[in-house]
């Protein structure tokens, strides 16, 4: 009953524009298409498995840790020893409820667990405990934004409907040793709590899917319900992709699996949309199949996975999990039945009160409070710790937020990215940057010098902006006599330019100003220099 996987190969150099039909490798449209006004467009739905950030597994007391020695985090239950029973981890339920609330879901007061059966070496019980009939949260919305326009300054808000969030067990890991034709099993991951989020096919391309996933990632990280690291498998995305003409029924879909970064997600989806459009344009039909992208090996390994839900719902032989009573969550403390300890129960109201500031709210607040551009708010929120850094700098300087933002999103972030550092690893602390900006703001250094000082501070952590300015004699020259003499020298040695200015070409003055700054290594007070030069060339 298993189905072979067609491995999808992506050429990273392949650039796909999904709106146009004439990408390389696609034959020209036949007559039918020429006469059809509407073009084929992609339809994308997502199934996302988010590993719950909890210290122990969903139904057992063993620890959850990434990259622990194989089979070192396995309880009797995780290994499915006969006679063991599942005991639900409250933390995992709270995480799912919190995530549901953050995504505007209805929280089911009563939800149920089911067994989903399939034989696979890393599924020791022969079934996965999941929530097929009645999941913990349903019917929510994720709002995400696309930045469009040349400068990516146009913010387009979009919604994707969340069908449900269900709690379920993760499986173990199989390592196939083809040389010795054996399979090695690591059960450390077996039984870790997952939230499966099902997003309706409301997206139309890789970029939208990627933006939705990125927003979800930020939300989960803000909530602390999932660490969201895709490369460590904490967030796993499967995409259901089909194409159709708007207004017509959806086409046959394929499932794209094994995507471990947001970037690859966008590529894989766009590639798949193009592939399907190509097939239809050649008069072919799209097959319902699973296509897996393997970025690690980049090799063709034929291997069978438990087949997709669509093709084999019957195969899974769902059954209610008889060892777990219905999961009940309570609206508030008042609705708790007598004899139930509030500390032992999952109370929605309490979780609602504990919700942190969500990314979209945070961005709006940043734009409103500091008057920065929306795209800057995206940059700030996208980088873990950058908002806090920005706000800490503002606390220590009188400089306007709109003037600080460039320093944070360009200088600081640029340097961090170049060296692949996180914000917390920055060699320049927020107060240190604030001090530098203060020197500039109070006229002690020019803006060009400030950038030099920033680079020197980056290379010699611990030294203050003032120390560096002093050591390298970078302070602003505002001695009028000294500036007069330098300006005179420049004017004297550039008679042609002076002539041009006198003839009305005022722009040439800037060239002279640049020469003065070159002479002073950028330390001259620009206002003063301009005034002196204007006098001397008038």
């Amino acid at each position: 009953m298993t189905e072979d996987i067609t491995w999808l190969f992506l050429d990273p150099s392949l650039k796909i524009s999904f709106q146009g039909l004439t990408t390389s490798g696609v034959v020209s449209p036949d007559l039918h298409f020429i006469h059809t006004p509407q073009q084929l467009v992609g339809v994308v739905g997502l199934e996302i498995h988010a590993q719950i950030n909890s210290s122990t597994k969903l139904f057992s007391g063993s620890s959850v840790r990434f990259s622990a020695p194989p089979n070192s985090l396995v309880s009797f239950f995780d290994a499915s020893l006969p006679g063991t029973l599942p005991v639900l981890n409250r933390r995992c339920v709270e995480a799912a409820v919190m995530t549901g609330l953050a995504l505007n879901c209805n929280i089911n007061r009563k939800s149920l667990f089911d067994r989903k059966h399939y034989f696979y070496a890393d599924l020791p019980a022969g079934y996965q405990i999941t929530q097929q009939r009645q999941p913990v949260a349903v019917d929510g919305t994720l709002t995400y934004s696309l930045l469009e326009g040349k400068k990516r300054s146009q913010v387009i808000r979009k919604n994707v409907h969340i069908k449900q969030i269900q709690l379920e067990q993760d499986s173990g890991k199989s390592l196939h040793d083809d040389v010795h034709s054996q399979t090695l099993i690591d059960l450390n991951r077996a039984g870790v709590g997952l939230m499966e989020l099902v997003m309706e096919p409301d997206m139309s391309c890789g970029e939208e899917a990627a933006a939705a996933v990125r927003e979800l990632q930020l939300i989960l990280q803000a909530l602390g319900t999932c660490q969201g690291n895709m490369s460590e498998g904490q967030l796993r995305v499967d995409a259901n992709v089909s194409v159709h003409r708007p207004g017509e029924p959806l086409g046959v879909r394929t499932e794209v699996k094994n995507i471990n970064s947001v970037r690859y997600l966008a590529r894989a989806i766009d590639y798949e949309i193009q592939r399907q459009i190509g097939i239809l344009q050649r008069g072919g039909t799209v097959q319902n199949e699973t296509r897996a992208y393997d970025s690690k090996s980049g090799l063709l390994i034929k291997h069978s996975l438990p087949i997709s839900l669509t093709s084999a719902a019957s195969f899974f032989r769902f059954m209610p999990e008889p060892n777990l009573p219905p999961l009940i969550v309570y609206e508030d403390n008042a609705s708790l039945p007598a004899g139930i300890d509030a500390c032992q129960a999952v109370v929605v109201q309490k979780i609602k009160e504990g919700l942190p500031e969500l990314p979209s709210i945070k961005r709006d607040r940043l734009v409103q409070t500091y008057g920065i551009l929306p795209e800057h708010s995206f940059t700030l929120v996208n980088e873990d710790g950058l908002v806090e850094y920005f706000e800490a700098v503002l606390m220590a300087t009188k400089k306007e937020p709109r003037k600080v933002i460039g320093w944070v999103t360009n200088e600081l972030l640029g340097h961090l990215k170049q060296q692949d550092l996180s914000v917390s690893q920055s060699p320049i602390s927020p107060p240190a940057l604030a001090e530098l900006l203060e020197l500039q703001e109070t006229g002690h250094i020019s803006s060009s010098v400030a950038k030099q000082v920033f680079q020197k501070m980056w290379r010699s952590p611990g030294k203050t902006a003032a120390q560096i300015t002093q050591e390298h004699d970078l302070g602003l020259v505002s001695d009028t006599a000294q500036l007069h003499s330098i300006c005179q020298k420049v004017v004297d040695s550039h008679p042609d330019e002076v002539h041009a200015i006198r003839n009305g070409n005022k722009k040439v003055l800037n060239k002279l100003m640049g020469l003065v700054q070159k002479e002073t290594k950028g330390r001259a007070d620009p206002v003063l220099v301009r005034k002196i030069l204007q006098e001397k060339t008038s």
């Binding site: 020893l81 006679g83 032989r317």
Partner: protein, 521 residues
């Protein structure tokens, strides 16, 4: 000494009339003498003697752990026992040694009770005869006792009767006086059925009152650890120890009250005994029917209200039971794939082939048959038609009981089985499925509804084999149920097997006797 109840033996132990070690050795000896019964799969002689010795130290110091300190017990071999093989009478787990104790086993050990061994059963508890295990059938001790031999004229070795099942080993262990109590499991009658056929008290408590943690499941939504004992009071003492919430089993409920000893002078004047008319089933033996009437009359004469009641959906119960049972079996057996533990086939050309051959070699026909039909019931296209429908009928059956108990009935009195124990040769004329459907007919409705039920031996049949009657009570009224059961026990005068010598030495079968004596050193 071996024929005593807890209170007697416990007193003897405390007064030093016998030491736990002496008692343990007596039981071990008897196990050897009754080896032909095949009641035990594993006899834990070494650890039993060690436990007995530790108990002896406590008793000498005058600090026993409780009423069970030093008392020998047996455990059905589908309860996990730490470092002791737990086979489920299956090739699949023939060499499986669990790393932990089932909660109910641990609770008995914590009381100082001495584990004698693991009792035989039908493979994975699937059966009603204890004839379908990988280690051979269990023989009914009563079929070696004088009444049966004399009254049936049984002469041949092959003339033995079955114990019933699936907890036949546990029933035989208690009936043959090699253990004072035994744990069974009861999914459709697996404790009560052999209890009735072997003449011991067999309690199936309310679902959820006892932890299933460590009980290798048959049907999770119906399984209950069962208690087999010599007397109703013994069963009550054990229930008091085992009942209550277990954090490792989310389906457990808190005990309604700490169960102290049963009142010795329970008055039945104010109780109402229901006689469900649907239990006059085809195949009910004349003698069992006579016992049923006799006890009903006893109640009536004592002033209890006895009335006929109706449980209209009873006739659908057994077929729905089988649908639900097979579906859960299919699911529960999925873990036995030969990877983590248990039997693994040598045929391993691919993972799928290894799974298939492992499961083919490891499970008997009965288990494989139930897996196949269970998976069929769970197929998407069949699920509504079989599984969901069976669950709906299950609800109707539970409602039947609720209605009856809601109308003022305190307990229901029914037969436990259709008749006394069949001869092995007769029993095996029919297949396991047919037998299970016949034998569980009176017992499985209580499992469908999660209700407490107890089988009490009432008399020996004309063939000299025990007949038992069943009481069913409302959920969590286990204590009241036992009080009524004890009232019956006090009046029916069921004989003790120790009144006769039933070991094989009593018969003129010298060859067998000699062989057993050599192995019994």
């Amino acid at each position: 000494m071996l024929g005593l109840f807890f209170l007697g033996v416990s007193l003897a132990l405390r007064e030093g009339r016998i030491s736990p070690t002496e008692l343990c050795k007596k039981c071990l000896n008897r196990i050897k003498k009754t080896q032909h019964l095949n009641a035990y799969i594993t006899v834990t002689e070494e650890s039993a003697l060690k436990q007995a010795q530790q108990s002896e130290v406590r008793l000498l110091k005058g600090v026993p752990k409780g009423p069970l300190d030093g008392i020998p017990f047996a455990v059905k071999d589908n309860f996990c026992t730490k470092n002791i093989k737990t086979t489920c009478a299956s090739k699949m787990l023939k060499d499986y040694t669990p790393p932990y104790n089932a909660t109910v086993v641990q609770k008995l050990l914590d009381q100082g009770a001495v584990l004698m061994g693991k009792a035989n059963l039908d493979e994975f508890a699937m059966g009603a005869g204890c004839t379908d295990g990988a280690f051979g059938p269990v023989k009914n001790p009563w079929s070696y006792a004088a009444p049966y031999r004399e009254q049936t004229g049984a002469m041949l070795e092959s003339d033995w009767a079955i114990t019933g099942g699936s907890s036949g080993g546990s029933a035989a262990a208690v009936a043959s006086l090699t253990s004072y109590l035994a744990l069974g499991s009861d999914t459709g009658g697996s404790t009560r059925n052999p209890g009735a056929l072997c003449g011991v008290v067999a309690l199936k408590p309310t679902y959820g009152l006892l932890s299933r943690h460590g009980l290798i499941p048959l049907v999770n939504s119906m399984d209950v650890p069962g208690i087999m004992a010599r007397s109703v009071n013994d069963a009550a003492i054990v229930l008091g120890i085992l009942q209550g919430l277990d954090v490792r089993d989310s389906t457990t409920v808190p005990a309604p009250s700490p169960l102290t000893e049963l009142p010795q002078d329970f008055d039945v004047k104010n109780i109402c005994v229901g006689i469900p008319k649907e239990y006059h089933a085809p195949g009910l033996s004349e003698e069992t029917l006579a016992q049923w009437s006799r006890v009903a009359d006893l109640f009536e004469r004592a002033g209890a209200q006895v009335k006929q009641v109706s449980l209209p959906h009873t006739q659908y119960s057994i077929v729905c039971y089988h649908v639900l049972c097979h579906a859960e079996v299919a699911s529960n057996m999925a873990r036995f794939d030969g990877l983590e533990y248990g039997h693994r086939s040598q045929i391993d050309s691919s993972t799928e082939v290894m799974y298939a051959s492992t499961r083919h070699e490891g499970f008997n026909d009965v288990v494989r048959g139930r897996i196949l039909s269970g998976n069929y019931f769970l197929l998407k296209q069949n699920y509504q038609h079989y599984f969901v429908k069976a669950q709906k009928v299950r609800r109707l059956i539970a409602d039947d009981f609720r209605n009856v108990f809601g109308s003022g009935v305190d307990v229901l009195l029914t037969p436990t089985t259709l008749s006394d124990a069949a001869c092995y040769q007769d029993f095996t004329q029919e297949d396991n499925r047919t037998r299970s459907a016949q034998e569980d007919v009176f017992t499985q409705p209580a499992n469908m509804a999660g209700l407490p039920a107890v089988s009490v031996p009432t008399a020996l049949s004309r063939r000299g084999l025990p007949i038992g009657l069943q009481l069913i009570g409302p959920a969590l009224h286990d204590k009241k149920l036992l009080s009524v059961a004890q009232w019956i026990e006090q009046r029916v005068g069921f004989p003790s097997i120790s009144d006769w010598d039933y070991s094989r030495e009593s018969r003129n079968d010298t060859a067998v006797t000699k062989r057993e004596q050599t192995s019994a050193v």
